[in-house]
Symmetry: D2
Subunit: 351 residues, 4 copies
Amino acid sequence: MVKVKIIGATGYGGIGLIELLQQHPEAEITALVAREDVGKRISELFPHLEGFCDLPILDAADERAQAPADIVVFSTPDRVGMYEAGKVLAAGAKVLDFSGDFRFTTAEAYADYATRHGKDPVHAAPELLGKNAYGLAELHREEIKAASVVGNPGCFACSCILGLSPAAKAQLFDPMSVICDCKTGVSGAGKKLAATFHYPARYENMNAYKLAGHQHVCEVERELSLLYGQAVRLTFTAHVLPICRGIMSTLYAQLKAPLTEAEAVALYREFYKDAPFVRVYGSKAPIGTNCVQRTNFCDLVVSVDERVNRLRVVSYIDNLMKGQAGSALQNINLMAGLPETLGLMRSGMYP
Amino acid sequence: MVKVKIIGATGYGGIGLIELLQQHPEAEITALVAREDVGKRISELFPHLEGFCDLPILDAADERAQAPADIVVFSTPDRVGMYEAGKVLAAGAKVLDFSGDFRFTTAEAYADYATRHGKDPVHAAPELLGKNAYGLAELHREEIKAASVVGNPGCFACSCILGLSPAAKAQLFDPMSVICDCKTGVSGAGKKLAATFHYPARYENMNAYKLAGHQHVCEVERELSLLYGQAVRLTFTAHVLPICRGIMSTLYAQLKAPLTEAEAVALYREFYKDAPFVRVYGSKAPIGTNCVQRTNFCDLVVSVDERVNRLRVVSYIDNLMKGQAGSALQNINLMAGLPETLGLMRSGMYP
Amino acid sequence: MVKVKIIGATGYGGIGLIELLQQHPEAEITALVAREDVGKRISELFPHLEGFCDLPILDAADERAQAPADIVVFSTPDRVGMYEAGKVLAAGAKVLDFSGDFRFTTAEAYADYATRHGKDPVHAAPELLGKNAYGLAELHREEIKAASVVGNPGCFACSCILGLSPAAKAQLFDPMSVICDCKTGVSGAGKKLAATFHYPARYENMNAYKLAGHQHVCEVERELSLLYGQAVRLTFTAHVLPICRGIMSTLYAQLKAPLTEAEAVALYREFYKDAPFVRVYGSKAPIGTNCVQRTNFCDLVVSVDERVNRLRVVSYIDNLMKGQAGSALQNINLMAGLPETLGLMRSGMYP
Amino acid sequence: MVKVKIIGATGYGGIGLIELLQQHPEAEITALVAREDVGKRISELFPHLEGFCDLPILDAADERAQAPADIVVFSTPDRVGMYEAGKVLAAGAKVLDFSGDFRFTTAEAYADYATRHGKDPVHAAPELLGKNAYGLAELHREEIKAASVVGNPGCFACSCILGLSPAAKAQLFDPMSVICDCKTGVSGAGKKLAATFHYPARYENMNAYKLAGHQHVCEVERELSLLYGQAVRLTFTAHVLPICRGIMSTLYAQLKAPLTEAEAVALYREFYKDAPFVRVYGSKAPIGTNCVQRTNFCDLVVSVDERVNRLRVVSYIDNLMKGQAGSALQNINLMAGLPETLGLMRSGMYP
């Protein structure tokens, strides 16, 4: 049994991982750590877990929180995990971090990201950068298996990267022409209260936000550029809509040569032929976020606007699953030498 | 492996059962039958099932639809299963019906129900009545195990009966004083299109309906009267609200003698001590429909208005799970001699 | 022109009143006062008002906030208006308060209310009690015209009182048998952030709350008892649902003698024949909260469960209109000697 | 008083116009015509109109439907108004049509549109084409005043055209680089029942649709090309989201030369300086669809992605108001010689 400790257990990421792990046949939770509600059972706060996970919430300093673990998950904001990762590694465990702390492999790339995000640009554990892996299994499976520190992807980034990777790898498009128009449910913003996510303010209201620049751009440009072999620059727009779970990213890129939808679909299917959680469709399939909700799937609808020779991919994920806890469990499986799909291969429910 | 055939596979009940069965370790689906979309794969219509259940939809007359089954499920409207049940039994299989056809054990009780429901009051298979079981495992576990025909409960009825059974059994209340104020999400009305369930007409709109009388009253009064040992008569109000899944039934009854909340909670917990899917709470627990959504649980919040000596129980279920497909699988497990909780014991997801 | 000053201008009550007043032909806003966002234009915070009301938000101590007014509206929490009302009256203006401060006419009644609400039970301006009017125009029109201090009703209370007043006045029911099962949209809880009203936590989630006792019970029992001429005691349950605006209260009472729906409807229509904002329907009318949304109407659906001789009224209002700002403008009109319906007589929009 | 007759009175467009007209100081409704529910009062079907508009629904052949009118509004599907317009004109009235029938001024342009829309490409009244005006007042005010036949714009088209007109007029962008990423609430699809708009199927579900081509592209390209003086070609993606009202269109175009956000905002404000229903903001303003809901405003948020020199405008409208009935009343006012804003200049309500 793989032993997993979760730091930041009461946020959406932590809860999502608890839900998955308590049904996982080869993993167990050794400790739940959080700053608030210490001493309460997790199921007092989240009664849907009653009878499934009744562990207490521990303070980080609590002796029980020191129980040995194989993997320590930091479901914490930026600039928490980077201060703790060294100690975890020294104790012989691996680190999986949900924030931006370990998504970049150089201090410069981190600084660029942090600056856009309004954070301190100096990484606190630069000696770990370069040894870490970017936790998007579809692109970095072998690195994740080998790494002792993995940075789980951002949710928007995950949807955009999966949606454009095959085309980038094939250098199909003008690398300056990419537009990512992303729509997310409110859970993407996490559990923290905010006036704009107060129920009455959000009901029947949708808007674009962070028009001055979104921090996920860095991950997307980095991954696409790596695949393309040349710098890809994109315009990214984030929109928030009054649903709970789900990201729909509509991705546009100017094709360098004519391409049919059938050719594009075939190329995408070939690229993802070994990816168990990516399903590729043409423009006629009735795909929506409800096809992936509460699952680890990314559904891609690939089409070409032949009038203007433009590729258009609509990428659907559940921001809390493939966009967070699902990818996390996929990474845990890989880091622990287990089958990638263990405990994750299930459909959603309709309606 | 228990072989299950589903008639009416493309309604919400059928889909829900497919989702559960495709993950069940001891059951398999032998055929999916429906009237529409014959010849298509079920996953073409419901792409969330892609890779999980790709069976074709068969016409009832199709040879492949005659494959042997241990249990035939009729996820069909009233007055379909009653015409087919005899043939199923003759072929050596058992019947589980989702409609009102086999919820009553006498022709008179059926006629009363059918009349309220605006249906033909003459049962087409009266010889089976009396041999059938009412498929609410918490009250009729042994009968369900023994029966070859089981009538799955109505969703509202399930929530009301579970919410009042312990008090009825203990004869705590005046049997003429019961009020069931029930609120349901829209999926309770099924997949059939209706002007009142068109998205724009339903968004930010709630209303009471069927004020002249709801057909589920019959089941609730029958079950409570049986437990009480005396006729229970109740006022039932159905309300529909702009959510998808979930029933919240607020149940009121005038107590015959003073009772504290602690006493009421203790009595309920004792009653349900062997029921794996019922959880009982006092009035301070933060229970909502989100605690039971996409699960087979019924969460009961028990309180007493001591100012006027009135019992008040709020009963929460997912109308498509405990109110339909979940109870169905619970019944299938019992009918097949499997553990009651097999394939059903999982938590929901938050948020 | 009637001059109105609003204290607490940036809460839902304040905003709602601004929206109404800026279109009112005989009223004008002289000052907007609030504690936060002082110095900003109201339309910077609420851009839907851009071009309609661009007044600055003033601190209470600002000189411009002392501009003379005919009516000062306190759209403030409990225990704010009671400290300021005396000064307002001394300056020759009238007071309209949205909180519980002036809903009761004796110090004892206030103390009972405040205790249930978890507030200090000692009223700060007891000398004004008895001179104030309860601001439900349908019952207290003449008192409101004459009063210099008016307490706007609670939203739940408004819906329940309007729904039961005709039956109480006619002494139709057992006064100990009343049950008020109330469902509200989230805006009823105001603009204050709370974990339970964070969008993802509330989406597709409904629950009962304050099961130990809701403070609005006092108003409802007081008004019904006054009409009945005998103490009415009731069980009140508040439920919150994932919509923005709307209250649906389902009201039950045991009839003392048989009554048909037609008789009940006739009695209600007679009672409200001079009330321009109350519409009475029988059980077949397709009424929902969408019929009253963004309007000052209360729609009542009256029915009788003849099997058990129980009256059932479903009362629909918009909690922010008839339940707050709409009733407030109705009161302002009466207090200022204007026609009761001025600036209020408009339909909602569908869908 | 301007006399208005509405054909197709019970669809969303018809209802919206009734709501506006019954409060309009200078207009009156002379007849409501529809195919279904003939003989019922409109307020029986839509009880929110009770007391506001209680006119009967008439068959087109009913004598009362022949009452003289100044303007006949066809709130009907494509290919209805074109068969009737000639008779209306012959009787001395003007025509305002909500469908695509009179949005084009040549038979060729109509045929192109109709083909994309899957309709018969032959216009039934080609003699009227060229005499009609495109009913977007912000661009065609004088033509609308003069025309006897006006085609109300498509809702998506309205949002895209208003969002890009100033930049097209100034020839700021590469005319082949335009992308319109449009998100609409469900009411945009009208009142007709459809499986994809059944409440449970749509709740918490969003998707792109009509990826093969949307008929509104024709209007947008035509209007932008006219302003630009050169053919503009664009990629258009329609998405539908689980809200009722609201369109948010995110519009992208590659700038020919560097431009700051401040310059872009200034240019837009200048362009719309005489347009009472367009408000222009920079990227920091907290605009969402809730700022325009239930109003005739179009709010534009203008920004520039300077990293890649791309213009990005987010255009917000209420699809049933500025996108339909609101624009219609604006056109009626112009066609009748009334002030453009009469009966339309009001804010929405928050929240």
